[in-house]
Amino acid sequence: MVLQAEHNFLITGRHDEVNRQHYISRLRMHILKEIGGGMRKAFDPKKTEKLSGGENNLRKKVLKSNYGKFWSTMMVSCQDMVWESAIPPIERAQPELNKRISKQKNKFSKLFLNPDLKIPNYLTAVDIHRMPGSYHTERSKDDASQGALYDRGRFIYNAGQAGPFADGISRTMAEYISIKWPNFYPKKILELGCTIGTSTVPFVNKFKKSQVHAIDISAPLLRYGQARAEALEKKIYFHQMNAEHLEFNDGEFDLIFSCIMFHETSRKALPKILKECHRVLSKKGMMMHAELMPIKHLKDYDRFYMNWDAYYNNEPFYKTYTSLNPSELVLNAGFRKDSVFEIAIPDIDRSTKSEFNEAVSNPSVKVKKTGRVGEGVKWYTFGAWK
């Protein structure tokens, strides 16, 4: 297993705590690959004709079986165990961690907080991904605890599958853009929903001459994100901002991207965000968003499997999101029809150079696997040129 890249503000834990976290990563992989693999074998309608009949029907049938019940309850318990295993060391590190973060001299990055920003209801209604406190909770004026929890917890959740910096999707996108469009060099880049900047850094690394901005609604994540960027010596401008109302000028950015953000917004917010992307993009600018694969591209079993999170992992907008047509939404936001794209990109760490280049020469949305772990994973993206 890949170990998480350490930095000055990462809180892992004591000897036993770290081993507990590493075991929970393996436990999650076991539930997904071994138990989940067996469940697919038993219920994939391709093999058991009698179980076909649409995603809802399939879900009912799987969840009536012991296989579905055990898999599901273990998924939920394990999700909780991921966060629980990361929390005690972070509590112990406080309040010194907050002090260290607030007192450090920032040489590379800038942080612009907006204490008056209203956190949208879609982010406060439940704790997304069952992460206690979710993204936004603040316990003191300089609190960064949720950032520390997200950094360590997400790595345990991923079991290192997104690399030591947990940035696989973003590295995949940055690499794809640079190869697919070699003459496109964005001067100013914006990431939406950057959390702690893990997905921002690969764009800083790939486009060294660009000015990179990143927004999120959560002050605790941004405080931690800035500290992390400093520790990694990355120049990023962090802003506490709602993507529905970007406080940037028209045409200010050449590239806007996001990593698996839209399904955590809402049916009302999504079109507003895309309209804002259109407004702040420069002429010949481009936006690219990695997201969950729309349900229309998936077969019944994968629909059931992917949408499971919508029902049981505190993802209220997930199911509605996956039923939408991203290209249509992009068109409605003002983009030209001939500039809209949907591309599935092979994960950079789990594909060969020729597989990656094939996706550059012949872009398509066809996938065998998406959104979960394993060989041959591709990341679904949608976007458009202005």
């Binding site: 000897h15 507990r20 436990l27 539930i31 074998k41 969840l63 309850t73 318990s77 003191s140």
Partner: protein, 100 residues
């Protein structure tokens, strides 16, 4: 006054939102959490023993601090992960016959 930022910070331990149950009797869902947590602690104890053995391979006596400060290198971590995966396959294996 800066007292608020100086005080102890407690994080919530449970998530806001419904915790689904999947069995007709929710006690089985609860029992699975117990079993999974217990399996975790067995693995943690195993790793602690492994740390002690690895330290004793190199020195005659060890202290608690030696144990606490030990962090496996990637090779040892790889061995531990293999052991964890095998252990998981033994403990959490589904009866598949009824689906075959």
């Amino acid at each position: 006054m800066n007292s608020k930022s100086d005080s102890k910070i407690e994080l919530p331990k449970t998530a806001k939102g419904k915790r689904s149950v999947f069995f007709d009797d929710p006690a089985i869902d609860q029992l699975m959490t117990f079993i999974m947590e217990l399996s975790t602690e067995v693995s943690v104890v195993y790793d602690r023993i492994d740390t002690i053995e690895r330290l004793l391979d190199k020195q005659k006596t060890i202290s608690r601090d030696d144990i606490e400060n030990y962090r496996p290198d990637p090779d040892v971590e790889e061995i531990r992960n293999k052991r964890r995966s095998e252990y998981l396959r033994r403990v959490f294996r589904m009866h598949t016959k009824e689906y075959e």
